[in-house]
């Protein structure tokens, strides 16, 4: 059962336009959400995160929006650049006993065309 869902396997946008990557989750116990970016032959790198008590977090060209009632979050990249072409993973975290668990989505492959 996929608790974190990224329903779009791929997305293609033009350079300079906005990229919007979506993520849905099912477990209301998730209290922290993260986006990672992964280039081929490299490990994922942390991009941006948001706590469940907030609805928006911005870092430069990257903004994450959280809609708790809809159990939905999105990552906006403005403006998109060719170097943003990568696989983007949405991940959600919750407390599990004396540890925190991190559950990942399947990823969305973003292609930014020059």
């Amino acid at each position: 059962d996929q608790q974190v869902k990224q329903n779009s396997p791929s997305l293609s946008v033009q350079e300079g336009r906005i990229s919007i990557l979506n993520c849905d989750y099912t477990n209301s116990m998730f209290d922290y959400f993260l986006w990672y970016k992964k280039y081929p032959a490299e490990g994922p790198t942390f991009l941006i995160s948001i706590s469940s008590i907030k609805d928006k977090n911005e870092d430069g060209r990257f903004t994450v929006f959280l809609n708790k009632s809809a159990k939905h979050l999105s990552l906006h990249i403005v403006p998109s650049q060719p170097g943003d072409s990568a696989v983007y993973f949405c991940a959600a975290s919750l407390n599990a006993g004396n540890n925190r668990k991190l559950i990942w989505g399947l990823g969305t492959s973003l292609g930014v065309n020059p």
Partner: protein, 114 residues
């Protein structure tokens, strides 16, 4: 400063064999986590170690085991390999467990089981 390093980069084994994967965390990081990423999916949590003790275990069979050494490096062992164990195995380190926004990944070990 060196990032997280993993060895070997690639590995080919046959069914029933055993494999050991190695990970060296970023200097000063005491927590190491292992993930399995099957093609087309997000990373799945396998183990987390902190200060040489297991702090978390994902839903993997007992064929998977790990340990952390006094220098905080770690090994992941998989016995009786199955075709389904073919995946990218990622190691990540952080100062302490649960700091997922400050978790750094290595490039991974690509395991192919024939």
């Amino acid at each position: 400063d060196a990032g997280v390093t993993q060895s070997p980069t690639h590995l080919i084994k046959t069914r029933g064999q055993q494999v050991t994967l190695r990970c060296s965390p970023i200097s000063g990081h005491k927590s190491v986590s292992w993930y399995q990423q099957v093609l087309g999916q997000g990373p799945q949590f396998i183990f987390q170690y902190y200060e040489k003790e297991e702090r978390g275990r994902g839903n993997f069979p007992d064929r998977f085991s790990a340990r952390q050494f006094p220098n905080y490096s770690s090994e992941l062992n998989v016995n009786a390999l199955l075709l389904g164990d073919s995946a990218l195995y990622l190691c990540a380190s952080s100062l302490v467990p649960g700091l997922y926004n400050e978790q750094f990944f290595g490039p991974g070990t690509r395991l192919t089981v024939l």
